[in-house]
């Protein structure tokens, strides 16, 4: 037992409608990187929130170093030696790195002590920091470093990392892995939460696989492959997706030319001279790390923002850059923004009512200002059946659906009207692998029927799987396009980090 640091025994936690953890039992060894692998909704987050004192388990025991461990708040958890780095950073954007670090300390510490400690941590674990830089000026990778240093100041035995690579460039991921290895050498333990199979194999020693709140398996990673892990994680086999260049017609139907846009806002990224063309039947991907102008570009593509400084958007030989969203829909352009709750759908409204957010000329939902409820309900039922949305019915509130189901519903709503072009941002963000696969499949199918698609995504694997062309957005600049089948990942990674040889 001496090499075990944490024993998790029979942890059960249920919420009003789901059991998030069912008798979860496994051990975590000292000085190792231990992965918890599972789809979104498998119960990983619930488990780590229990460990970090954010949730209380209904049943079960946790032992830390063979002693009973029970905490009611993150502060207590930190005192007992457990630290956590969240997927979404909790930093004050307007303050400097140093100020953020000072705010994160639980106990009193003199300023010179702090500086000594920081220097020590930075050099030992490959975590260089510019203490005086404001947080806004940092890249996602640098922000994450601040979070890690902040936790390390408290000298934790166990460090929980929740999906740490989701916002990083490939190069930043490499550097994070160096840090993690250095931490493990200093007899710390890392609990690594992820749904990315390659990461488990390359960095972790042991892996615990969760599905539907239960532990499927805990084993060493040395005898696992991405395939075997995926089968255990999903419980089923998925077909490989294929993109076909033959379906693309030699006809440009959507062209963005020299779009520039200034916002005068430190929290928004100005767009600089963005140009690209999409051909009929083509899937065009825009890669990039979050916060490099994606949402600003999306607003301009959808018409939610028509205040551009210069440039034009042409669709079917019409200049549309001054058209609002409804006028663009009238031309058979459809869009799905990144955020489901409160942007592409209203959580408080029923599924049926949510249909009305996006109306195309042929829908026939409204006559003389009066809603034709039967038509709307029929359309909703159709989307629910066609896209296998799991819901009690079209009168269920959008908020009652899981992320994946709602996303299938929203995308189904948009593509049921057979648009000529679909502009979609982060199509599979935050949803489980099953829904992810079916959404990617329907996008490919749509393009085969002659619809052009623009996909903005942070998920490089996704873009490589489904697109024909990829360009990279960095600090409001869009790179030239590359054929997805030919481009090297390293090349894209460098562009995502702002390096253009």
């Amino acid at each position: 037992m001496s090499d075990t640091i944490l024993n998790i025994e029979n942890i059960t936690k249920s919420f009003p409608r789901v059991i998030a953890n069912k008798k979860v039992t496994f051990d975590i060894k000292k000085n190792a990187v231990h992965a918890i692998l599972g789809e979104n909704g498998a119960g990983k987050s619930t488990l780590v929130k229990i460990l970090y004192g954010l949730l209380e388990p209904d049943e079960g025991n946790i032992k830390l170093n063979n002693k009973n461990f029970k905490v009611n708040s993150p502060a207590e958890a930190r005192k007992q030696g457990i630290g956590m780095v969240f997927q979404h950073f909790s930093l004050f954007d307007s303050l400097s790195v140093k100020e953020n670090l000072i705010l994160g300390i639980d106990e009193k510490m003199s300023y010179s002590d702090l500086e000594n400690k920081l220097e020590n941590i930075s050099s030992r674990y490959n975590l260089p920091l510019n203490l005086d830089a404001p947080i806004t000026a940092l890249s996602a990778g640098e922000k994450q470093r601040v979070e890690i240093v902040r936790i390390l100041l408290q000298d934790p035995q166990i460090l929980i990392m929740d999906e740490p690579t989701s916002v990083l460039t490939p190069q930043e991921v490499e550097s994070l892995f160096v840090t993690l290895n250095a931490l493990v050498k200093e007899s710390r333990t890392i609990l690594y939460i992820t749904h990315k199979l390659e990461e488990v194999i390359s960095i972790c020693d042991t892996v615990t696989i969760m599905r539907n709140g239960e532990i499927i398996d805990t084993s060493s990673t040395s005898n696992q492959t991405a395939k075997t892990l995926a089968t255990k994680m999903l419980g089923q086999k998925l077909d490989d997706l294929k993109t076909n260049y033959g379906q693309i017609k030699d006809e440009v139907n959507f062209e963005v030319k020299n779009i520039s846009c200034d916002f005068n806002d430190p929290f928004l990224t100005d767009l600089k001279n963005i140009s690209f063309q999409v051909r009929v039947g083509e899937i065009y991907g825009i890669a990039g790390v979050a916060g490099n102008g994606q949402s600003e570009l999306m607003d301009i593509l959808t018409g939610e923002n028509i205040n551009i400084k210069s440039g034009s958007i042409t669709f079917d030989n019409k200049k549309i850059e001054k058209y609002g969203p409804q006028k663009r829909r009238d031309l058979s352009i459809s869009f799905v923004p990144e955020n489901r709750l409160g942007h592409s759908a209203v959580p408080e409204l029923s599924l049926s009512e949510n249909i009305l957010l996006s109306q195309f000329p042929k829908n026939n939902f409204i006559k003389n200002g009066i809603i034709l409820k039967n038509n709307v309900d029929d359309f909703a039922n159709n989307v629910i059946n066609e896209y296998k949305v799991i819901t009690p019915g079209n009168d269920a509130k959008a908020s009652s659906l899981s992320g994946g189901n709602l996303q299938k519903y929203v995308i189904g709503r948009e593509i049921s009207s057979k648009p000529k072009i679909l502009i979609i941002s982060h199509p599979t963000w935050g949803i489980d692998a099953g829904a992810e696969h079916s959404i990617r499949e329907s996008l490919i199918e749509l393009s085969q029927n002659g619809t052009s698609i623009i996909v903005i995504s942070q998920d490089l694997d996704e873009l490589i799987e489904i697109t024909h062309k990829i360009s990279v957005i960095y600090d409001g600049n869009l790179s030239k396009p590359f054929n997805t089948s030919e481009v090297e990942i390293e090349k894209l990674g460098l562009l995502m980090g702002g390096k253009n040889e």
């Binding site: 009611n72 969203p325 006028k327 409160g342 409204l349 009066i370």
Partner: protein, 357 residues
Amino acid sequence: MNSLLPSIVSRSQSSGIMNFFVPIISIVLTLITGSIIFVLLGFDPVYALYTFFISPISSTYGISELFVKATPLALIAIGLSYCFKNNIYNIGAEGQLTMGAIFGGGIGILFHDTNAFWLLPLMIFAGAIGGALWGLIPAILKTKFNTNEILTSLMLVYVALFILDYLVVGPWKDPFGYSFPKSRPFSESGRMPILFDGLRVHFGLIITLFLIFVSWFIFSKTILGFQLKVSGYSPKAAKYAGFNQTTLVFFAFAICGAFAGIAGLAEVSGPIGLLYRDISPNYGFTAIIVAFLGRLHPIGIIFASLVIALTYLGAEDAQLFLQIPSAVGFIFQGLVLFYLLGAELLINYKLTYKKLL
């Protein structure tokens, strides 16, 4: 051991049934608190509550008076729900009511010696226009300069009241009125027809019921009502859908102003018959309570307006029979709102006591 101070935690699901019961629970709690206040003041609570809530409506005349008071409250509250559904906090209905009374009443004064069928409709129309124009001022300020409509609409209440004040002591003063601050009386055809002989309940009630029905139709059956709802729940989704939010703000303010304006005109051309300083016992503010007590739903608003109208009548009876100041009526209105907001909070959040180690 538990800590002494509870913390407020969001409930994962709010109960639909409790949502329905909130207004009823608030009213019951108000009655209980009211009894305690009566006991503290040295009155028999049963007798006091009877005087307050039963005796005012134990005669035909009393019931008619209940409808007289409920009419402006319900009409303004349904107008306010256009704004509140859209998350626009127009609290200046009192000013819009006053402006409606000034515009419509102005027509009445201009034609004080004319008797014609077109006079009342013209006055109602002018009242609606006056209220709507007054409501559009905060709408313009909000959409053009991004000002907070709570402040601007409230301040415009006082501007409207001072304009009315100026008119009735100045240019519109009754030349035969012995210098009292009031206008000439309107002609007979400038008055709201009485519905039943000997009672004061008037045609304004019919107008109110009609507009409530129209509003129900707009809210539940039309794309316009849907747009108001969406932009209230989530402005980003409304933008995504391509709904014009500036238009919706203008629409909500204009409708609310027009309804309040009609309510004001109905007051001066109904029970009052002329313009003077105190045409409204804060109907425009009290209607805010009515709108929320009625959960912004047309049927709910009808019931809520009757309940709140009763507090007006009860206060008068209490003053008469118990010698309690009529301000007690406002205490009851305040209590209802207090419990309503409290119950609303507890539906979506719960109190928990954190364990201390």
